[in-house]
C-alpha cells in the first residue's frame, strides 16, 4: 500500500461543521450501522463510498434528522445537537438530497422548492418571486424544467434536479448528496459537479455519496469508506478509482467490462419501423439482432424512456410496423410482449418497478407469476427457492428476507428489479439504466450477466446515461435527440465523444455500414 491509501485522522484539521460520534443504527435485531465517527469540515467535499447496503444512506439520514440514531451523537461546532426531524436539521443548516425522489407530485416545481418556507407578500404567496428565484436556482444547476411544471409530469432526471434545487435554495452549512448523479446524464452531471464545487468555494461542508468513482476522484477532498455498516477509514484526495474500489469491496477487482463479442450475421430479432410516442419519440426505427447489445444514448429528455415505454404499450403510441422474431406484432402490452419473449426494465424503480411495501418474494415473482406458480395455488416454497436463486445470482445483500422492498438499500432494490424482470426468461431484454445506484463491485457482475445473455443468443437493448457503460457494453449504439434517432455508431466509432457529439449536435454520423452484422470487432 502506498501513502495515498493510508487513513488520515481528522484531529489535525479545522473545526468540523458537523461531527458524528459513535453513530449506530439498528432496525430490530439488525444493526445496519455501527459506531461511525465522522467529521465534515467547512469548505471540503467529503465523499462516502461503499458497497450497496453498506449503510451510506442510513448514515446520511441520521446526519440530517430523517432517522433517529440508536446510539451516538451529533455535534455542530462544539455543541451537541439533536435533530428531532428533517425540518429541524434544515433550519440548523443541514440538508439532505435524497437518493429517492421526495417531492409532492401534484405541486409545481416552484411550489415544491418553497414548500414549508413560502415567500409571501402580505397574506398572499408571492408566486412571481418564487418562480423567479426557482428559475435562477434551476438555471444554476443546469436544469431545463420550468418553475410552473407539475413535478409528477417531469422525467425522473428532472425531478432529481428539482430535488437538488430544493436543497440549494437557501445557504447551507452542510449539504449532503446521496447519489445525486445516478439518474443524470453527462451534461447535467458536469453542471452538478460545478455546483458542488461552488458550494465548497463558499465554505459549505459537502458530503457526497456516489457509485461513480470518477466523480469521487474528480471532486473529493477526503474519502470515507464504509463496509458492512462499519467505518473502514478516511483517506485524503488522491486515491485512484481502482484503490477506492478495492477498499470498498475488500478484495481485488477484475476488469469492469467483458470483452466485445463477434456479431453473428443472423436475421433480426426485433424490427421497429417508425414508432412515434406521445410526448416522446418521433418515427423511431431500429433493428435488433440476437447476440448483440444495442446501446441507446442521448441527453436527458431525448425521449429514450418514452420510446420504449411506448413500444411496450405503456404510453399512447403508433408504429408503421413492428416485428418480433419475424412475426408482426399487432397488439402491444407488457403481457403480450412478455409472452412473446420481450421484457422492459423501467428506469424508475420506486415509482414503476417495485411494490415498496411488499416483501421481496412478492416483488420478485410479480412479473413471472405464471411460470413461478404453474398451478392455481401460489407455490410459496417455489417462490422462496426463486428468491434464494435471485439473491445468489444477483448478489442481493439482504440481512432479513422478510423485509419489504422499500427497506432495501437503493442498489439492492435495483438488483431485485433486475432479478424480477429476468425471472420471465426473456429472449429480448430492454434495460433502462441497468446499473443505476449499483456499486462498482456489482456493476461488473451485471455486465457479465448481460454478456452471458447475448452469448446465449439473446438480444439486449441498454438505455444508459452513463457513457463509459454505454461504450464499454454496446456492440452498436443509437443516439437519440429530440425524440429522433439521429445517429448509429458501430465498431471503433463507439466512443464517448461521438455519442456526446451526436446527442448534442444532432448531425447524423455515418460511422459504419448500416448493417451491423456485416462488421465484426473485438
Amino acid at each position: 500500500m502506498n501513502a495515498a491509501t493510508m487513513p488520515v485522522s481528522a484531529t489535525a484539521l479545522a473545526r468540523p461543521a458537523l461531527r458524528a460520534e459513535g453513530l449506530s443504527k439498528a432496525y430490530g435485531p439488525v444493526t445496519v450501522l455501527s459506531d461511525v465517527t465522522l467529521d465534515i469540515l467547512p469548505g471540503e467535499v467529503h465523499a462516502v463510498i461503499g458497497e450497496n447496503g453498506a449503510g451510506k444512506s442510513t448514515l446520511m439520514k441520521l446526519l440530517s434528522g430523517h432517522v433517529a440514531p440508536s446510539a451516538g451523537r451529533l455535534l455542530m461546532g462544539e455543541a451537541p445537537v439533536a435533530f428531532p426531524d428533517a425540518a429541524a436539521a434544515e433550519s440548523a443548516g443541514v440538508v439532505l438530497v435524497h437518493q429517492e425522489i421526495l417531492l409532492a407530485p401534484d405541486l409545481t416545481v416552484a411550489e415544491n422548492l418553497f414548500l414549508g418556507r413560502e415567500l409571501t407578500r402580505g397574506p398572499m404567496v408571492d408566486d412571481r418571486a418564487m418562480s423567479r428565484r426557482t428559475a435562477e436556482v434551476l438555471a444554476s444547476i443546469g436544469a431545463h424544467c420550468h418553475p410552473r411544471d407539475r413535478v409528477g409530469s417531469l422525467p425522473l432526471a428532472q425531478r432529481q434536479l428539482v430535488q437538488i434545487a430544493r436543497a440549494l435554495l437557501e445557504p447551507r452549512t452542510v449539504v449532503i448528496f446521496d447519489e445525486p448523479t445516478a439518474v443524470l446524464a453527462n451534461d447535467e452531471v458536469a453542471a452538478l459537479l460545478d455546483v458542488v464545487r461552488g458550494l465548497r468555494a463558499r465554505g459549505a461542508a459537502v458530503l457526497y455519496i456516489s457509485h461513480r468513482l470518477d466523480e469521487v476522484e474528480a471532486l473529493a477532498d477526503r474519502v470515507t469508506v464504509l463496509r458492512d455498516g462499519r467505518m473502514i477509514g478516511t483517506w485524503p484526495a488522491g486515491l485512484t478509482q481502482r484503490a477506492m474500489a478495492d477498499l470498498m469491496v475488500g478484495r481485488e477487482l477484475g476488469t469492469l467490462y467483458p470483452p466485445k463479442r463477434a456479431l453473428p450475421a443472423v436475421a433480426p430479432q426485433l424490427v421497429i419501423d417508425a414508432l412515434s410516442v406521445e410526448h416522446g419519440a418521433v418515427e423511431a426505427s431500429l433493428v435488433l439482432r440476437p447476440g448483440e447489445v444495442l446501446g441507446i444514448g442521448g441527453m436527458i429528455g431525448s425521449g429514450r424512456t418514452e420510446l420504449f415505454e411506448g413500444l411496450m404499450g405503456l404510453r399512447p403510441s403508433q408504429a408503421a410496423r413492428i416485428t418480433l422474431g419475424g412475426h408482426e406484432v399487432t397488439h402491444r402490452s407488457v403481457r403480450d410482449w412478455q409472452a412473446a419473449g420481450l421484457v422492459y426494465l423501467t428506469e424508475d424503480r420506486k415509482g414503476k418497478g417495485l411494490l415498496l411495501d411488499e416483501p421481496l418474494a412478492t416483488n420478485l415473482t410479480l412479473q413471472a407469476l405464471d411460470s413461478v406458480h404453474p398451478g392455481t395455488r401460489l407455490d410459496h416454497a417455489g417462490e422462496d427457492r426463486a428468491l434464494d436463486r435471485a439473491v445468489d445470482a444477483y448478489d442481493i445483500r439482504v440481512r432479513n428476507r422478510h423485509l419489504s422492498a422499500g427497506q432495501l438499500s437503493g442498489g439492492n432494490q435495483q438488483k431485485l428489479l433486475l432479478a424480477k424482470v429476468m425471472l420471465t426468461d426473456p429472449a429480448v431484454v430492454i434495460i433502462d439504466e441497468p446499473t443505476r445506484g449499483i456499486d462498482i463491485g456489482n456493476k461488473s457482475q451485471i455486465y457479465d450477466f448481460i454478456d452471458r445473455l447475448v452469448r446465449a443468443g439473446k438480444a439486449v437493448i441498454v438505455v444508459s446515461s452513463e457513457l463509459p457503460e454505454l461504450v464499454g457494453l454496446s456492440d452498436r449504439v443509437l443516439v437519440m435527440r429530440g425524440g429522433r434517432i439521429v445517429a448509429e455508431l458501430t465498431g471503433e466509432a463507439i466512443t464517448e465523444q461521438n455519442v456526446v457529439y451526436a446527442a448534442t449536435s444532432g448531425e447524423k454520423q455515418e460511422a459504419g455500414p448500416h448493417d451491423p452484422a456485416a462488421r465484426t470487432h473485438t
Binding site: 421526495l102 409532492a104 401534484d106 405541486l107 414548500l115 420550468h146
Partner: protein
C-alpha cells in the same frame, strides 16, 4: 431562449384546457336542458336553480379543502342538521330579549359550533389517527343522533317572529343577485384565495399530494388537515345560515345524504379524491351540474317517477365520460 418563452406561454394554457372539463360538462347539461324543455331557460328557473345550489356549493368549497388535504368528510350532512338545530334553538331562546338581533347572534354562535364540529372531526382524524372515512362516519352518526334527540324525533321550527326579518337572507337579493348566490360567491372567492394564494393552501395541497414530503419540509400535516376540517365546519355553518329561512325548521332528516352530493360535486369539479389537487371553481360547477340535473328531472315528464334516481345516475356518469372524452 425562444424555447423557454414558448414553454412559459405553453404550460399554463395546457393546464387551463384540462381544467375546463367541469364547465364544459355544465354547459352541455344546460344546453340539453334548454333543448328539451322550454321552461328551463327562463330567468326565474335559472335563478331558482342557481340560488338553491348555494348550500351544496358552499359546503363543497369546504370539502374541497378537506379532500385536497388528503381526507374525506362524510359527516357534513348531519353536521348541517345539527348546526341548523343549534342555531334555531339559540335564536328562539334569544328572540324574546333581543328581537331580530337574535338572528345575528345565533348565526355567530352557529359559526362557532360549526368550527368546533369540524375541529372534532379533525382531531379524531389527526390526533386519533383514524381513517377519515371511519372517523367521519362515526361523527355522522353522532351529529344525526344529536339533532334527532334535540328535536325529539320531530322538528325544531324557528320562531314566527323571526321568520320575516330572516326571510331576505334566502329570498332577498343585492342588485338583482339572490343573496345566497352572493354569499356563495364570497365563500368561493375567499376559498379560492386561501387555497391558491396563501401558504396554507399550498401546504394543504402538499399534505394531500404526499404527506411524507410535506412532513420532511416542515409542514405540520396534522395541523393542516385539522384546519381543513375546521374550514369545512365553517362552510357548513354558513350554508346553515342561508338554509334556515328557506325551510324554517331543522328536522332529523335535514341534510340527509348531502355528504354524497357534496363529494360528487367536488369530484365532478375535477378535484382528485386522493388529494393533492383542489379545484374550487370546478366544485361550484359540479354543484350546479347536480342541481340542474335534478331540476331537469322535475321539469321534464319523460321518466317514470320511480326511475328518476336511475336517470340522474346515468347522467352523472355520462357527464363524467364526456368530460374525460373532451380531455
Amino acid at each position: 431562449m425562444t424555447s423557454v418563452t414558448t414553454e412559459i406561454a405553453g404550460a399554463p394554457r395546457r393546464i387551463r384546457w384540462a381544467d375546463m372539463g367541469p364547465f364544459i360538462a355544465l354547459a352541455l347539461v344546460v344546453l340539453i336542458g334548454t333543448l328539451i324543455n322550454t321552461n328551463f331557460a327562463t330567468g326565474t328557473n335559472i335563478a331558482n336553480v342557481v340560488t338553491r345550489s348555494a348550500f351544496i356549493a358552499i359546503i363543497a368549497v369546504g370539502a374541497t379543502f378537506v379532500i385536497s388535504s388528503g381526507c374525506l368528510d362524510l359527516s357534513v350532512g348531519s353536521m348541517m342538521a345539527f348546526v341548523t338545530g343549534v342555531m334555531i334553538l339559540t335564536m328562539n331562546r334569544l328572540e324574546p330579549t333581543m328581537g331580530a338581533n337574535a338572528i345575528l347572534v345565533g348565526a355567530g354562535f352557529g359559526l362557532i359550533v360549526g368550527a368546533l364540529c369540524g375541529l372534532l372531526n379533525g382531531l379524531i382524524v389527526t390526533v386519533g389517527k383514524i381513517e377519515p372515512f371511519i372517523a367521519t362516519l362515526g361523527t355522522m352518526g353522532i351529529f344525526r343522533a344529536l339533532i334527532t334527540w334535540m328535536s325529539d324525533g320531530g322538528s325544531i321550527p324557528i320562531d314566527r317572529a323571526l321568520r320575516d326579518p330572516y326571510r331576505p337572507v334566502y329570498f332577498g337579493n343585492v342588485l338583482g343577485i339572490p343573496l345566497p348566490v352572493v354569499v356563495t360567491l364570497a365563500v368561493v372567492l375567499v376559498g379560492a384565495f386561501i387555497l391558491y394564494r396563501t401558504k396554507y393552501g399550498r401546504r394543504c395541497m402538499a399534505a394531500g399530494s404526499n404527506a411524507d414530503v410535506a412532513r420532511f419540509s416542515g409542514v405540520s400535516v396534522a395541523r393542516v388537515r385539522t384546519t381543513a376540517f375546521v374550514i369545512q365546519g365553517l362552510c357548513v355553518a354558513i350554508a346553515a345560515i342561508c338554509y334556515i329561512p328557506r325551510l324554517g325548521a331543522a328536522t332529523p332528516t335535514t341534510g340527509q345524504l348531502w355528504e354524497l352530493q357534496v363529494i360528487t360535486a367536488v369530484v365532478i369539479g375535477g378535484t382528485l379524491l386522493r388529494g393533492g389537487k383542489g379545484r374550487i371553481w370546478g366544485t361550484v360547477a359540479g354543484a350546479l351540474i347536480l342541481e340542474v340535473i335534478a331540476n331537469l328531472m322535475v321539469l321534464s315528464n319523460m321518466v317514470s317517477e320511480y326511475l328518476v334516481a336511475a336517470v340522474q345516475g346515468v347522467i352523472i356518469i355520462l357527464a363524467m365520460l364526456a368530460h374525460r372524452f373532451i380531455k
